[in-house]
């Protein structure tokens, strides 16, 4: 099953390589990995989605936890709000332009740019809706597509913390990661 991890890392050279090489070395296949800044200076945040079972997820958590530059890892699978942003360039003709626009509107996609024979659509969604949207566009000819991969955070039903506090808590803590067996 797909497991979603949120990883806070120190913003230092080579951190992405350390995380990526760890997954390769331990033979886990990364479905998507995104990395970007947080509201805390010097701290970056990754969303990593991996297809693995429960034991595999625990091993990933433990191995990532051990990386010196990793501040915190959370498995938020099940409680996560996940989004994927895609830019899709679709072929259009005078005949098909209005139909593509219709599909875009129906899926609440944003038309970014319209040219003579192509149109760029911006679409933010979950994976399932993304698949449906792409399937609807495919007959018209997808010329180019890029997606960010999943970005995720725990939903509001989870106890909410400011991420800076989470990181502070880690810095002062001698507590280990939970090891429920």
């Amino acid at each position: 099953m797909l497991n979603t991890f949120v990883v806070y890392v120190e913003d230092k050279p080579g951190v992405l390589a350390r995380v990526a090489i760890l997954f390769r070395r331990r033979a886990f296949n990364i479905e998507t990995l995104t990395v970007g800044r947080t509201d805390v200076p010097g701290v970056s945040r990754m969303t990593i989605v991996v297809d693995t079972d429960e034991q595999g997820a625990l091993r990933i958590e433990a191995n990532v936890y051990k990386l010196v530059n990793v501040l915190r890892i959370q498995n938020i699978t099940g409680s996560d709000v996940t989004r994927d942003l895609a830019l899709i360039k679709v072929a259009i003709t005078a005949q098909t332009k209005s139909r593509v626009e219709e599909i875009a509107n129906k899926h609440a996609a944003h038309i970014v740019e319209t040219g003579r024979d192509a149109m760029i659509l911006e679409f933010t969604s979950t994976k399932d809706k993304m698949d449906q949207f792409i399937a609807a566009l495919r007959p018209y000819g997808i010329l180019e597509m890029v997606s960010t991969g999943h970005v995720a955070m725990a939903g509001c039903s989870q106890a909410s913390h400011h991420s800076a506090l989470l990181i502070e808590e880690v810095k002062g803590s001698a507590q280990g990661i939970p090891r429920s067996v």
Binding site: Y65, V68, A174, R179
Partner: protein
């Protein structure tokens, strides 16, 4: 034998005086208590070597950078302190890779320092430039690329802290040449580690302790599996206490040997592929495994599907990533072993003992003894087991023995009975040929008062043989017992068992090792008869310097028993004995 002198922090400068990065490096190493560095100079590390004159640290010039890392590793394993190796950029750094991986797999605290081309040249494929932090990323606990003199002191502090805390391991510091040459203020106090994400201080939960206690109290046939962790955490006394208090037999891994005295009545000996039959049988018939500081390596478990099927399992380890990696366990206690055992001990006061179980295992032992080579009639042939057994007797089991990998390593584990922690130093996880000779040099430097013996095969010896020159130049006294059977012995054994005796590329045509040693200025002799073993060992022990003994042993001898890779632990190949076997198995 010259011993190391205490550093007097000569490289320390008056407050606020600027120093070069190179001097700061030596001063930082002194502050970490380093007295010896094993290294090899070259272009990109020359500023550091130039500054060595300001330091009281002893530098030992090796003959190959792999040797430097193994020496640092041997130093660390013999002493429990961090070992330090140094090399230049490019090939100097890549030559360290095998030694770093060896230290990683066996959780040995080593700090490797490499020179790097100037920071402006990084990425330009400059002469002797290699991305050593990239290369060593998966084989170090952590590594650093330092491009500023200001960062050197803090990096050294962090590296030493990371190397020896939690589960120990190697840390590499790559320092650019311009960082070595630039000057800045050396302020050790201000250079405190900044490691917000590094939390090696895990401890188990109350509930996990309770679950473990329940399993121990309910067990009728418990067995303790003791690994390297019992030595690394300094928990050997606590383990012995637990063993004695609960009357639980204990099996040890290769790297756990010496952690529990071999003479201890409840110590069954080594488990796994070349463990004795009674040990593996006991594990397979146990109803509870208490694994302490070990990682269920495949050489220990055999077939995972049939491994200790009826046993509940408690796993105590400081590394959370070891839990459920190979063997799924019922209770995991993640934390420092010594602290965990101190927590458990008082709560086990009234736990019943297991006399029937211990007695049963005793019977299994008797069955195996008839096959022991020590009990076979003397055929006039020289067997490695005889050599090692005689070495054990002659040294009263008090030497530090350093082995390589292969048949001799297993015979050593079987026939040299180690009674003290850190008295066996061997490459377990990575199984590195060429480890023994340099690691022994490191061990002797760490513990100059100890008698150090290298037990090494004729194949592995030739991999790092040039370190004989290091022994001579640095006047280091280690004795070398080459178990010379003219084969890559373990390869030959596998070919005999599993490849229809097709001895492809395993026979060795060797140089005359005794003459070779003499050319290096080291006394040497060759022994071909059993009667020659003890006199040669005595001669070495009485000799002032190092001595090499070339033991020409039986060529096609085999390590028994053997559990073939991936087989059930009970499916072992036993030593044939005409007195008890009606037909030969092999």
């Amino acid at each position: 034998m010259s011993t190391t002198t205490a550093p007097q922090a000569q490289a320390q400068s008056p407050a606020n005086e600027k120093m070069t990065g190179a001097r700061i490096l030596w001063a930082s190493l002194e502050r970490e208590g380093v007295q010896t560095v094993f290294g090899y100079p070259g272009g990109a590390i020359l500023p550091v070597y130039d500054a060595l004159k300001h330091s009281a640290i002893r530098h030992i010039l090796v003959r190959h950078e792999q040797g430097a890392t193994h020496m640092a590793d041997g130093f660390a394993r013999a002493s429990g302190k961090v070992g330090v190796a140094m090399a230049t950029s490019g090939p100097g750094a890549t030559n360290m890779v095998t030694g770093i991986a060896t230290a990683m797999l066996d959780s040995s605290p080593v700090v490797c320092i490499t020179g790097q081309v100037g920071s402006k040249f990084i990425g330009s494929d400059a002469f002797q430039e290699v991305d050593i932090t990239g290369i060593t990323l998966p084989i170090t606990k952590h590594n650093y690329l330092v491009t500023k003199a200001e960062d050197i002191a803090r990096t050294v502090r962090e590296a030493f802290y990371i190397a020896q805390s939690g589960r120990p391991g190697p840390v590499l510091i790559d320092i650019t040449k311009d960082a070595q040459q630039a000057s800045c203020v050396f302020d050790w106090e201000a250079a405190a580690p900044q490691l917000p994400g590094y939390r090696p201080d895990l401890s188990p939960s109350r509930q996990d302790y309770e679950k473990a206690l329940e399993l121990i109290r309910a067990s009728k046939r418990p067995i303790i599996l003791a690994g390297h962790g019992i030595i690394l955490s300094g928990a050997t006394q606590e383990v012995c206490k637990l063993v004695e208090h609960l009357d639980i037999p204990v099996a040890v891994t290769l790297l756990g040997l010496g952690g529990i005295p071999a003479s201890h009545p409840l110590n069954l000996g080594m488990m796994g592929m070349h463990g004795e039959a009674w040990v593996n049988t006991a594990i397979q018939e146990a109803d509870l495994l208490i694994a302490l500081g070990m990682r269920f390596d495949d050489r220990v478990t055999g077939n995972l599907n049939t491994y200790a099927r009826n046993a509940k399992k408690i796993h105590v380890d400081i590394d959370p990533a070891e839990i459920n990696k190979n063997v799924n366990v019922d209770v995991a206690l993640v934390g420092d072993l010594r602290e965990v055992l101190r927590e458990l001990q008082p709560k086990l006061e009234s736990t019943p003992k297991h006399p029937e179980w211990v007695q049963y295992i005793g019977q299994l032992k008797g069955d195996s003894a008839v096959r022991d080579i020590q009990n076979l009639p003397d055929s006039g042939h020289l067997y490695a087991a005889h050599v090692i057994n005689d070495l054990w007797r002659e040294t009263s089991g008090n030497a530090i023995v350093v082995t390589d990998v292969g048949q001799h390593q297993m015979w050593e584990a079987q026939y040299y009975r180690h009674n003290t922690p850190r008295s066996l130093i061997t490459s377990g996880g990575l199984g590195t040929m060429g480890f023994a000779l340099p690691a022994a040099i490191g061990a002797k430097v760490a513990r100059p008062e100890a008698e150090v013996w290298v037990v090494v095969g004729d194949g592995g010896f030739q991999m790092t043989m040039p370190e004989l020159a290091t022994i001579f130049q640095e006047k280091i006294k280690v004795h070398i017992a080459i178990i010379n059977n003219g084969y890559l012995g373990m390869v030959r054994q596998w070919q005999e068992f599993f490849y229809s005796r097709n001895y492809a590329a395993s026979p060795l045509v060797n140089p005359d090792f005794a003459k070779l040693a003499e050319a290096f200025g080291i006394r040497a002799t060759t022994v071909t008869q059993r009667s020659g073993v003890v006199p040669a060992i005595r001669e070495a022990r009485e000799h002032d310097g190092s001595m090499l003994i070339n033991f020409r042993v039986e060529q096609e001898d085999t390590v028994y028993p053997m559990v073939p890779a991936g087989a059930d632990l009970k499916d072992m190949i036993r030593r044939p004995n005409p007195a008890v076997d009606t037909e030969m198995e092999w």
